[in-house]
């Protein structure tokens, strides 16, 4: 199939898909669907799609909420703090330990990531307010979990609606217990997706952690010229660790991870680093920009998915430092090259020419394209749950020919696109997984690495390659059709 016919097919698919909607919804969704190509005239986005707008009601969007963006993504992985899901019981329960943010620690004693702390609002808390209860929650946490290094209050929907003042409670209690307490107004109804939750959480880091506001001793760590921080890596399946090892091997000192396996102290140390390395741009560009403005720390985006992008990124990072780092960077690249060559030699023949459709969250819809291409696979459709224009602009730079771009795609659209474009692999989240597996399509969850990983760095790429092979070449897909069914 040549690129031109593919593009025609892609455009026809969009047209057809829009027919199912009532007029108003069709008009809205039309703006979020497009066919992007490297030669797009519009430089602001990709495929001319519009993004970060309200979801059309009633269509089974895959999006989450601001609370998910703050508690689930940005704050939740900070391991030595306790994150209170403040409001009714559900939000904390549904989001408990679902993201595989790995960490080292004694859970329940000095680290708390996979636990669920909830203020479990009852009707009287709605009617009379929950501030008193929040104060008591903090007292009880302090008594039973004395080694916590701080607390965040993650607001659920009712908090902002009933007029509670979690800021005041946090201020008073923080003084009392002499630890940081961060009130986060990330109520689920704010904004249009997780994205605003990331932003709100970033802002609270800015306001409550930096500039010596945290009562934590950082004087034992002396800054060096090689200090960097990993920003926007949530250590899913250990991703930050398989990234960190490469940075250390090239002579850099990773002072902080944001926020997978992170501690409060690491965050407090970050304003002294020489360079911030930003992996998930969407969820943590805000704090990176802030550190640039306030502390003059430059930041660069990097991509550790697949060897081509990893090598590019390693060199880009090394270029910020002196020749010793640059020399070591080349040594690192040379050291891993034989392993990577062997991985590609083994898996590329089994995966070459296979097509993929992606739908994920913050960075992966563009960042993993290169990793697939390293294996000879082609991404023919991609989109984001909660991206903005600048993410689509960056996506345009990653695609190499016409690709369907779908923003905030819903269940109906994704299913229709897959049926029309017939990829060999669909890579998205848990909610969609079994829809496509029922159709007999190989599928990989690309939020949680489908309980595998890490996928970052060289070691991660080897796992990625073997997992894609596992999915696509498993014998199980051939069993869908019974032997007595006719071909067709």
């Amino acid at each position: 199939m040549g690129p031109e016919t593919l593009e025609a097919k892609q455009k026809a698919a969009i047209e057809e898909i829009l027919k199912a909607y009532p007029e108003k919804a069709a008009k809205n969704r039309e703006k979020h669907l497009g066919v992007g190509s490297p030669n797009d005239e519009n430089q602001k986005t990709c495929g001319d799609v519009r993004s970060n707008k309200k979801t059309v009601p009633g269509v089974m969007s895959q999006r989450g909420c601001a609370y998910a963006g703050s508690k689930g993504v940005v704050w939740g992985p900070v391991k030595d703090m306790i994150h209170i899901s403040h409001g009714p019981i559900g939000c904390g329960q549904y989001s408990r330990a679902g993201r595989r943010n790995y960490y080292i620690g004694v859970t329940g004693v000095d680290t708390f990531v996979t636990m669920n702390f909830s203020s479990d609002f009852q009707e009287n808390n709605i009617v009379f307010g929950g501030d008193k209860k929040l104060g008591k929650c903090i007292d009880e946490i302090e008594e039973l979990f004395p080694l916590n290094n701080g607390i965040t209050v993650q607001s659920e929907c009712p908090i902002g609606l009933i007029g509670d003042d979690i800021g005041a409670v946090s201020r008073v209690k923080a003084k009392e217990i002499d630890k940081v307490i961060v009130p986060v107004n990330c109520e689920g109804f704010r904004g249009v997706s997780q994205s605003l939750g990331h932003h709100i959480a970033n802002d609270t880091v800015r306001d409550f952690i930096f500039d010596g506001k945290v009562n934590i001793d950082t004087s034992d760590v002396t800054a060096t010229d090689y200090d960097v921080a990993i920003i926007g890596d949530y250590n899913i399946g250990g991703d930050a660790w398989s990234s960190r090892i490469l940075l250390e091997e090239m002579g850099l000192r990773v002072v902080a991870q944001w926020s997978g396996d992170a501690t409060l102290k690491e965050m407090a140390l970050t304003p002294k680093v020489k360079l911030n390395l930003l992996h998930c741009y969407r969820s943590m560009n805000y704090i990176s920009r802030h550190m640039e403005k306030e502390y003059g720390i430059p930041w660069i985006e990097y991509n550790f998915f697949g060897p081509s992008q990893t090598i590019k990124s390693l060199r880009k990072i090394a270029a910020f430092f002196d020749e010793s780092v640059q020399a070591k960077c080349e040594e690192v690249i040379a050291k891993y090259q034989p392993m990577i060559d062997a991985v590609i030699a083994k898996y590329k023949p089994r995966l070459e020419g296979k097509t993929v459709m992606l739908f994920v969250g913050g960075l992966r819809p563009r960042h993993v394209i290169g990793a697939y291409e390293d294996l000879g696979m082609e991404v023919i459709g991609t989109g984001y749950e909660f991206a903005h224009d600048d993410d689509y602009k960056r996506t345009k730079e990653e695609i190499f020919r016409s690709t369907v771009i779908y923003d905030d795609v819903n269940e109906y659209e994704l299913e229709a696109f897959v049926k029309k474009l017939q990829p060999d692999l669909v890579a998205s989240g848990i909610k969609e997984k079994y829809v496509f597996q029922k159709m007999g399509l190989p599928y990989r969850q690309m939020h949680s690495w489908d309980y595998s990983g890490p996928y970052h760095g060289y070691d991660g790429f080897a796992i990625f390659a073997s997992d894609m092979d596992l999915a696509i070449n498993s014998p199980v897909w051939a069993h869908s059709k019974a032997p007595w069914e006719k071909e067709g």
Partner: protein
């Protein structure tokens, strides 16, 4: 570094020396107590195992730690998916729906359709009427469900949206293009800050049954309605149907999601199986209604008994005694003998119980879960001579504690058996350290308890995310009790092997035959 012939994922990768070095290096930047003072960590860890800690832990009034319950709309979504071609529709923010769908999908390993009307800040200010009008129309146009079952999130409840008025307004504005005047759109208010997921189940079931049957009261038919409750065992729904069918009686299972969450491979259809809408509309004319979960159907059964005047009542067919009662109730309602088939099934179960009893007898168990599940499962433990030392129900409704206490009081070990109503799993952790048991029965949230306390976990309950296919089995009826017996006995035997496998030290009890 990876070796191409033996690529390992994180499980083994991070054990390698180069990664252990990375993790060790990282500690210098971590926190003041973790990196510098491991002795303090040990001290606190030991203290959390003490009676002193337990007393403080159990005295908590405000913070919930590691709950064993969820919120109302989750139950409402389950009800909706038990009806033919029905789309669960949650009036509120779409973040909630993403959570409900993930939660069920992770348990069942099946798709979970559900839409929301994506309310945002402007809806919080002006109300969600606009969202409801557009949402219902779009949902009907795109997914073409036979019915849309509307529930609410806490956001919609706090701002006080009026579902009935909104649905009427949506239909009027649409003028029948997508939403015909008689398009069934039952609704229920399901505030997350009242009760738990079983309350939401009750509210939505009540909503569907009361609203679909409106004006349909006619001749009474010899027919039994069965309401399963918040049942997460697909096999249980099938076992119950098999038992009812054995009596040859006409019946309607109200809210039957056994096909929806157990779709065969080959193609994807969004909706499968479920209670026929026409049956649901006519269920008011059945002669009897049996609820299999008393505490999950309080409001619904009040309507059925007081207003509809149906015979039936409650019957919890988990365990031998519970199944016997269910079978006898059916015999009574249908006026027939207990069918031979069931007599044989019962005999086989009792035979199996008599084969395995030595391994469960006197064993101490900790168990948690929903109130009705616990009534059935604890009954079964008692039938086997086991000792349910800690029975914990986080979402215990009124009356449950007394009922459970009365059950435990029938045991010779009654003085050492405890009921914990309204407590969470962090409380359970203290109980397990201070008054240890031999085994735990519970959901995946027991995993950390297993790691912390070393108590073996038998996976029975909801949600189960990290073990596969258990939900496909039954825990109801005689065949379901046999599954319970099998899972529990074999875990006891696994543990016995584990305890005796030390070569030349403990393996004198490592028997081939048991």
């Amino acid at each position: 570094m990876q070796e191409v012939e033996k690529i390992v994922n994180g499980k083994d990768l991070f054990k390698r020396p180069e990664y252990q070095e990375v993790l060790k290096n990282k500690k210098q930047f971590e926190s003041s107590m973790l990196a510098v003072n491991p002795a303090k960590v040990d001290e606190i860890a030991e203290w959390t195992k003490s009676w002193d800690y337990r007393e403080k832990n159990l005295a908590r009034e405000a913070i919930t730690v590691n709950p064993a319950k969820a919120c109302q709309p989750l139950g409402a979504v389950m009800v909706a998916l038990g009806f033919e071609g029905t789309m669960p529709y949650v009036h509120g923010s779409h973040g909630c729906v993403a959570y409900f769908r993930s939660y069920f999908t992770r348990h069942f390993k099946e798709p979970t359709p559900c839409v929301s009307d994506s309310m945002t800040e402007d809806a919080a200010v002006f109300g969600g009427l606009v969202n409801m009008k557009e949402g219902l129309k779009n949902c009907a146009a795109v997914y073409k469900p036979k019915m849309i079952a509307v529930s609410t999130t806490c956001m919609a409840e706090v701002i006080g949206d009026d579902l009935m008025a909104f649905i009427i307004a949506a239909k009027e504005e649409d003028g029948g293009e997508y939403l015909a005047a008689d398009y069934p759109i039952p609704y229920a208010h399901t505030p997350s800050f009242v009760g738990s997921h079983i309350t939401g189940y009750d509210n939505m079931m009540h909503g569907i049954m009361s609203q679909l049957t409106e004006g349909n009261k006619g001749e009474t038919k010899q027919r039994i309605n069965i309401i399963p409750g918040f049942e997460t065992y697909i096999g249980s729904l099938r076992s119950v149907k098999t038992i009812v069918e054995a009596f040859g009686t006409d019946y309607i299972m109200l809210g039957d999601h056994s096909d929806q969450w157990d779709m065969p491979a080959g193609q994807y259809e969004m909706f499968q199986g479920g209670t026929k809408i026409d049956d649901a509309k006519d269920c008011i004319n059945s002669s009897a209604t049996i609820s299999l979960q008393k505490y999950a159907t309080v409001k619904t059964m009040k309507m059925v008994e007081k207003r509809w005047k149906h015979a039936g009542g409650f019957s919890n067919p988990v365990g031998l005694k519970g199944t016997d009662e269910f079978v006898m109730k059916l015999a009574e309602l249908t006026g027939t003998e207990v069918p031979q088939k069931l007599k044989i099934e019962r005999g086989r179960l009792v035979d199996a119980m008599q084969d395995s009893y030595p391994y469960m007898h006197g064993k101490k168990f900790a168990i948690w879960g929903d109130p009705d599940f616990l009534i059935g499962a604890v009954s079964f433990l008692l039938e086997m001579g086991a000792e349910p030392t800690h029975v914990l129900c986080h979402n215990a409704p009124n009356g449950w504690e007394a009922e459970m206490r009365a059950m435990l009081d029938t045991s010779p070990a009654k003085d050492s058996l405890n009921v914990w109503a309204g407590k969470d799993l962090w409380a359970m952790r203290s109980l397990l350290f201070t008054e240890p048991v031999d085994f735990m029965i519970g959901n995946s949230y027991g995993k950390e308890l297993m790691r912390d306390t070393g108590t073996p976990l038998i996976y029975i309950g909801f949600p189960i995310f990290d073990r596969h296919h258990l939900h496909r089995y039954s825990i109801s009826g005689y065949d379901g009790a046999l599954n319970l017996l099998t899972w529990i006995t074999n875990k006891v035997l696994d543990q016995l092997d584990e305890d005796t496998k030390g070569i030349a030290t403990t393996d004198y009890f490592f028997d081939l035959i048991r």
